[in-house]
């Protein structure tokens, strides 16, 4: 088991190097520091001095990958590649364009992101699975047929519509919760409720349909027939046999997204002005702060790979037949 985990982590290293090289290529080779400086200082009438100053201020004034002017190892370390890309491996993200420390900002913004994402995931899972089991119980009846039609219709509505509609109805018209914002401690609850509910509604269509397929697949198996044959009621079959076996595909599908919860949701956070990592990213995109975008790309891929490894481990945990 341990050797498997070590092997998986070793396998993750070339992937992270690949991600790093790719982002480096995108941000510094396709798009040179000169371009970046010009973008930030305005396209027209930029003096070379101003550009040099901007580059020096933000640490982009070194050669890209090889510094012939320096001595020894400094030939490689006094370069943009070393300072901006290699340091990502040590989770040293450097400074944003406004001079703030990106690493500190990320740590600080993780909390609000999780405060939205974790309840959202749990409530979503509970509701989706309950709804899917209800529909699977009434399979091949009108309830099933209309349920699927409803799910497809709900899937076809843009997530933006749910957010805008939710804010309009619950905050603007009914005035139940504040429209957007965030607070610390227990006061945060009134800001969290609406995003979680909206996320639940916008995900219930596809979620319910997905879990329904999983349940129906399990219901078609032989062990379900034997359970019915020995006289168990349909409800008992559903809960003690089908649900337990269906948990294997459900759990493995969920585990892979757990680490990515840290990243937050771009759209939800920015609509509800929650100071999490999602809105951090969106602000960085809008203000074209490449340093933050690069850090988030790297963080995202690390978390994704962690998710993959956790998925493999959880397989062995829920299904003893799987040996690593």
């Amino acid at each position: 088991m341990l050797s498997y985990i070590i092997r998986r982590i070793a396998y993750a290293i070339p992937i992270l190097i690949g991600v790093n090289l790719l982002t480096f290529l995108l941000f510094f080779v396709v798009n040179t520091p000169d371009d970046m400086a010009r973008l930030h200082l305005g396209m027209k009438r930029v003096t070379p001095e101003a550009m040099e100053k901007w580059k020096a201020d933000h640490g982009y004034d070194k050669p890209i990958a090889f510094n012939p002017a320096a001595e020894g190892m400094a030939k490689f370390t006094h370069t943009i590649f070393y300072e901006k890309s290699i340091r990502l491996f040590l989770f040293d993200f450097g400074r944003a364009d406004d001079g703030r420390n990106i690493g500190a900002d990320i740590r600080q913004r993780m909390g609000p992101s999780l405060a939205i994402a974790v309840p959202g995931l749990i409530v979503g899972l509970l509701v989706n699975i309950t709804a899917a089991m209800l529909i699977a119980f009434f399979r091949a009846t009108y309830i099933d047929a209309y349920g699927v039609v409803l799910a497809v219709a709900m899937m076809s509505i843009s997530s933006l519509f749910y957010i805008i509609g939710g804010q309009f109805i619950f905050s603007k018209t009914l005035r139940l919760v504040p429209i957007s914002g965030y607070d610390t401690g227990w006061d945060a609850i009134k800001f969290i409720v609406l995003p979680v509910v909206v996320g639940l509604i916008s995900g219930v269509g596809s979620g319910m349909r997905w879990y329904r397929t999983i349940f129906l697949e399990e219901i078609g198996k032989d062990y379900v027939r034997s359970a019915r044959a020995k006289g168990l009621s349909e409800l008992a079959v559903l809960f003690s046999h089908v649900l337990r076996n269906a948990l294997v595909p459900i759990l493995t599908g969920v585990v892979v997204v757990i680490p990515l919860l840290f990243m937050g949701s771009l759209i939800t956070e920015s609509f509800f002005s929650i100071p999490g990592l999602g809105s951090y990213t969106i602000d960085a995109i809008n203000s074209q702060d490449f340093g933050i975008v690069r850090a988030m790309v790297f963080l995202g891929s690390v978390l994704y790979i962690v998710g993959l490894i956790l998925t493999d481990i959880s397989y062995t945990w829920v299904d003893p037949r799987v040996r690593l």
Partner: protein, 479 residues
């Protein structure tokens, strides 16, 4: 002189990048239909699709959207009026499409600012000079919306009702005639009586679900017959901030949505198919390399990769601004680039599926027989593997479509969507967000974009479900 006069009547056709790809896609679709028509294993699932009324009506709705999108994909420039004799003909810098030409009234009938749907008065008060010279603050009359009415307060509802009734009746009569003619032709074809055939169609006992198709067509005809007179005399969906008709904007948004949904797949298909099959078939280091490639790409969060690429494109475009002769061309290149980037992030799922399927297929007897007979790898891939993964490709193309249309709106909100100058549902929704904060609320352009988007995505979802049920061998036979 005579020659230049002739030329002055002509238009200069403009083929944008996405237009060319849309034509290519159309050609590919036709070629695939010809290919499929001759092959029983591809015709059998299609027969299953054809029998399901809901799937067929969603196909009709989709085709309706596609028809609008296609008329919006033929672009041209109008010649500018010739001012002096023997002057070279100059073409207007504005690139128009066939749809713009058809909807010329909608496009040019702009008001000054917001107006509610079907309104005769503007949405905000202005200073108006009355006949006797005094000024007062009131809602001014619209220039085009309900301009034919003398006293909108009293006449408007009656006028609207009359327009709706007249349009609805026209549509119903037209649909009735067309349905009758169609059933007549069908009965001739099957050598049955008209009444018998009509009974068969209505009970859904034909090979094709004609009932669903006819009902959908009737609804579309009635809807169009109501919408057309309403939109010529009023602004059916109101006007936006600069007074543009919202109906026109949403109709223009159809093309953008369709292009993103289809061209993305067209762009990524060659990569996904060739790499997926190669990885599964050759195994070894080729497999390792391709797996490494897609694991690396899929580990980068999709939105961030798209954002990074679009930011970089923006820098490039600002640097080479002179390379684009018009705003339309600039927006078009950005749209194409967006499709490519969405394709880069989207090909991984299909590639993985194809790899897995090819791994299974290559061990089957017929492939081993071909290898034993000395058939080359290339021939095996094209003749034995590719036809047997066709259903996976088809299913994933159709399933991806609706997700991409929805993604466009989200990307526009993040600020990395299509060019702000391009009309798209995402841009409409994005700009309408602030309108909801106004008092009273400006809800119409948001709702119009959402409604048309919902129609397209819903019909695409229903259709793709039908296609998947019919083409997926694991689901075939089950309902």
């Amino acid at each position: 002189m005579g020659e230049s006069k002739m030329a002055a009547l002509s238009f200069q056709p403009v083929v944008l990048w996405t237009d060319a790809l849309v034509y290519l896609l159309l050609a590919a679709l036709l070629a695939f239909s010809f290919y499929a028509i001759k092959r029983e294993h591809l015709r059998a699932p299609w027969r299953q699709v054809r029998r399901r009324p809901l799937v067929m009506s969603s196909l009709v709705v989709l085709l309706f959207y596609i028809a609008i999108g296609l008329t919006d994909s033929f672009h041209f420039r109008k010649p500018l009026p010739v001012t002096e004799a023997n002057q070279e003909i100059q073409y207007s810098p504005e690139v128009l499409s066939l749809l713009d030409w058809l909807l010329e009234d909608l496009k040019s009938n702009t008001e000054r600012s917001y107006s509610a749907p079907l309104a005769a008065y503007a949405f905000t008060k202005e200073m108006i000079t009355v006949e006797d010279g005094t000024q007062r603050r009131d809602y001014p009359r619209l220039v085009y919306g309900g301009a034919h009415l003398q006293h909108p307060e009293t006449e408007r509802s009656a006028d609207l009702l009359a327009l709706v009734l007249r349009g609805g009746t026209t549509g119903l009569v037209l649909a009735g005639i067309l349905t009758g003619a169609f059933i007549l032709r069908l009965s001739r074809h099957h050598r049955k009586g008209f009444g018998e055939m009509a009974g068969l169609v209505m009970r859904g006992e034909c090979e094709t679900a004609w009932k669903g198709i006819l009902i959908t067509l009737t609804s579309i005809l009635i809807l169009s017959a109501v919408v057309i007179p309403l939109s010529t005399q009023y602004h059916l969906f109101g006007t936006d901030k600069v007074g543009q008709d919202v109906l026109y904007l949403t109709l223009k948004g159809i093309r953008t949505g369709l292009v993103i949904g289809t061209l993305t797949t067209l762009v990524m298909l060659p990569f996904a198919v060739s790499l997926g099959i190669a990885a599964g078939y050759f195994r070894g280091w080729i497999d390792d390399l391709i797996q490494y490639l897609y694991t690396t790409l899929s580990s980068i969060p999709g939105v961030l990769l798209i954002a990074a690429a679009v930011l970089i494109l923006q820098v490039y475009m600002d640097k080479n601004a002179e390379a684009f002769s018009s705003v339309t061309e600039r927006a078009d290149v950005r749209l194409l680039f967006l499709c490519i980037i969405l394709g880069v992030t989207g090909w991984i799922g299909l590639c993985r599926l194809l790899r897995g399927e090819t791994l299974k297929l290559r061990e089957l007897e017929y492939v081993q027989a071909a290898t034993a007979l000395g058939v080359s790898n290339g021939a095996i891939l094209v003749r034995h593997i590719l036809p047997n993964v066709m259903h996976i490709i088809l299913i994933s193309v159709v399933l991806d479509f609706s997700g991409l249309v929805l993604a466009e709106a989200v990307l526009a909100y993040v600020g990395v969507g299509v060019d702000p100058a391009m009309i798209s549902w995402g841009n409409m929704i994005n700009s309408a967000r602030l309108e909801l904060a106004r008092e009273p609320v400006v809800w119409w352009s948001l709702s119009a974009a959402f409604i048309l988007m919902f129609g397209l995505v819903l019909s695409a979802n229903v259709f793709s479900d039908g296609v998947r049920d019919a083409f997926d061998p694991r689901l075939r036979g089950r309902s």
